[in-house]
Symmetry: C2
Subunit: 403 residues, 2 copies
Amino acid sequence: MATPSSQPVFRATTTAPVNIAVIKYWGKRDTTLNLPTNSSLSVTLSQKSLRTLTTASCSPSYPTEDTLNLNGRPQEIQSSKRTLACISSLRTLRKSLEDADSSLPKLSSYPLRIVSENNFPTAAGLASSAAGFAALVRAVADLYQLPQSPRELSRIARQGSGSACRSLMGGYVAWRTGELADGTDSLAEEVAPASHWPEMRAIVLVVSAEKKDVSSTEGMQTTVATSELFAQRVSSVVPERMTAIEEAIRDKDFPKFAEITMRDSNTFHATCLDSWPPIFYMNDVSRAAVRLVHDINNAVGRTVAAYTYDAGPNSVIYYEEKDTELVAGTIKSILGATAGGWDGPFYEPLANVTSSVSLEKTDPRVLDVLKNGISRVILTGVGEGPISVEDHLVTETGEMVNQ
Amino acid sequence: MATPSSQPVFRATTTAPVNIAVIKYWGKRDTTLNLPTNSSLSVTLSQKSLRTLTTASCSPSYPTEDTLNLNGRPQEIQSSKRTLACISSLRTLRKSLEDADSSLPKLSSYPLRIVSENNFPTAAGLASSAAGFAALVRAVADLYQLPQSPRELSRIARQGSGSACRSLMGGYVAWRTGELADGTDSLAEEVAPASHWPEMRAIVLVVSAEKKDVSSTEGMQTTVATSELFAQRVSSVVPERMTAIEEAIRDKDFPKFAEITMRDSNTFHATCLDSWPPIFYMNDVSRAAVRLVHDINNAVGRTVAAYTYDAGPNSVIYYEEKDTELVAGTIKSILGATAGGWDGPFYEPLANVTSSVSLEKTDPRVLDVLKNGISRVILTGVGEGPISVEDHLVTETGEMVNQ
């Protein structure tokens, strides 16, 4: 680890996954601490498809200030209260280790150099902040050799981006709203590992670029402050759904999982529409994908697919591996060559798909809207939490690796 | 009234208006009696723009069965329970008059010949059933010379189509949900006559034909049965809004009227989206019109326009006459020659409009979507209830007038 100048550079590198909620996080009861109004639950998506790779390094040889480089661009770290909050919490934990054991190197006193890159285009409209903050927290925690569990680290990641706390674990992850005002009990926890129900697949339908209506940070607080239906969602609808979907995951009951997922997406967007002024994230392409999923389920005669929408028009459609042809195959037959992304590690079962669900009853306009409106698909599935790797983005001598 | 065969033909003709709710009717607590889950409130629109014209006639010379002709087409009256319910109630009232006064002709024993026509295209997607049932009830009541008030007749019209009860009066009309199981207290009443606030204007933006998602009759019961947010709307949101909007009407407080109108439209569509399966009536064109209205209000610096959406994509935008240029003028400047309907009795103040609100801050895509998506406008305003006229659609000898 020694540099030519004999000043050590310490490094740790991790990947972190994207997660897509099936019970949505929407609304904060504390905007500084990122404490949510309701619990949420997500599926961690495989890093074979989508991942953030982050190296955290520190060295007494670095210039005084902490730095963060994201996708090749230096970030204004000092103006990001959220990033500072995460780093500060991690540094405090390191400091207490050093105080207890004087043999430890004084990493907490060295400037940090953090370098991060996503393997998916920002244009995909996938919430990259969750993977980003999870990777940042995991990488720095690894660098500092912190003993805290992912659950404990989720408290820190939450301060970066609420949903980031769910990207510190794989599989099926709940973020409990907690009750304490200081947020110490607002933590993520694994409901089931990916290995419990590894057959879960997801296809992301990326809608051709459209400017977002309002940011989710702003939008959710508008909903909290103005929607007259929102309190009902928080006090009654979500708690019941959390219990039910955890049962569905435990029992690997896809139809139950699917209905709750779709209904919660709809309720979330309903509270957006009920906000003042109203917030719209779904567009006509999103609506067409909703129709398609219902039509596929009706045509098959059982629930094989479930849509969900975050704060944007892209659809994420969950299905089980055994139904790949019925779901992804049907989508492939509709989109044909009009959408990119029919490749990657989850493509193999689709390579030779020739038949699909009959869509006789589907309004041809729905198919046209999808064909014209979806630019790209991403094939993926449930996956693991952050993984330590050796693909450092900072060299042994502390230089950023050319990307 | 004597026919060549010396058999008398009795006739009465009325026009009836369309009404557009500002507090929406959505959900029945009794589907047979058409009893609503919540009170609603509407503005009756001027019959100078939109009206149904209906002649009710009866004669001992007519063949045995009652007949109904709508827009030149005979209707299957016997299979329409709702039409039969209205006619039966009216006939019963006539019968009791005849029983009390034997000098009256026995009209209740004669077959009815009812002929009706709308002056607006069905393609306009305007709920024609409200005007249609109101005209039918009013015309038959006039034919039978019934002493019942519009309020009392609203109980009958309600059984034809819920919202029809509100078209029996002009101006600002509330339909009280009532509490009795037999529906006798579920009646419409005039909150204020058109003359109280005659400056109210409305422009209908007719969205290029799109198949309706589901009928309102089916859709509202899906919402009642499945939306977990719906109970909140019924028990709390609507009652508060009814009180507030009646105050706004009393005070002619347009900004207050406007906000409640827009919010209630949004809440109604939110409960549709929260239904299972979800119901969508608004599309990207509707959303663009929502944006436009908010942008106009922001650009002007006060609330001059209010959108509302029924169970379809068309916008109805309310404004006050003094703001015609700011609202309708701006819309005219956007749509230019791409939409028909820039004519009629309410067009005059717009004929020479050359300026409009600056839409610098409006996303150009919003303007494109409106330009490409709106096929027609209808200019109108608040108006009167049904009017007795002599333009009979049935001749003195009982023949249908060629239309």
